[in-house]
Amino acid sequence: MHDSHAVERRLGIVRWLTGHRHGIEGYLYLFHRISGIALLLFLSLHVLVTSSRLFGEETWQRLMSLTHSPALKFLEYLVFVAFAFHATNGVRLILIELGFAVGKAETPVYPYRGSLHKQRPLMIVLMIVTAVLIVMGGFDALRFTR
């Protein structure tokens, strides 16, 4: 029986790094995975750090004072960037996955019309939303580092 994962396993991480061959969506695929892993790592750390509120105000204030350093502010901003991208690209993936942004069935002749006329504009709009969110987050991060 054909195993759809066999090729993916054989290529491993090389498949991620060569995703750009499939156009800009290939890069989005790569960044979606990287941002997802980064967010999961952050979540694990976040759960442990925020649990410190159990030890009272003093402990909380001491921990939060550490986050005022420019380096940590920048890392916090990167978390926001990862979230903004992962969320908006996730909306795109869900719309495609559920069939809302696929287009009508037709003969698969390259360049695929469904992809060009539906998926590409959707991707552009959502990446503009991502950029707006990233800029907004950047202004906020700069406000606190001043």
Partner: protein
Amino acid sequence: MTHDIKIKYWALNIASALVLLVLLGAHMGLMHLPGVLGHINPDWSEPLAWAQVSGRGSSIAATGGYVLLLGLALFHGLYGLHTMLTEFFDGERAARRIAVGCWITGIALFAIGATASVIFHMSLLQN
């Protein structure tokens, strides 16, 4: 893992993503855009101040929201990690180990985060 279970996990993953979009979107907005949201409500301009943290902690809705958010975020994140790892490691045995590892990690982090949220909420109510 049977095909039916895989489909159920996939559906749960999509559903969790949609709920996370709202819950995590609100959480990230409040925590990372206080300068913007502070113009709408001044209380949102200092989300990490102890008064704000304890204010949210004393609310049952916020506490419940945090627990739900944590559970969904862990499920969604670990489902994604599980998918990536099973692409790299072949075989039924590896798949089972990956699944068990993801479940243990998820349950442990959920237990820590949810317990901290509930105890914090209860301690604030007692004071």
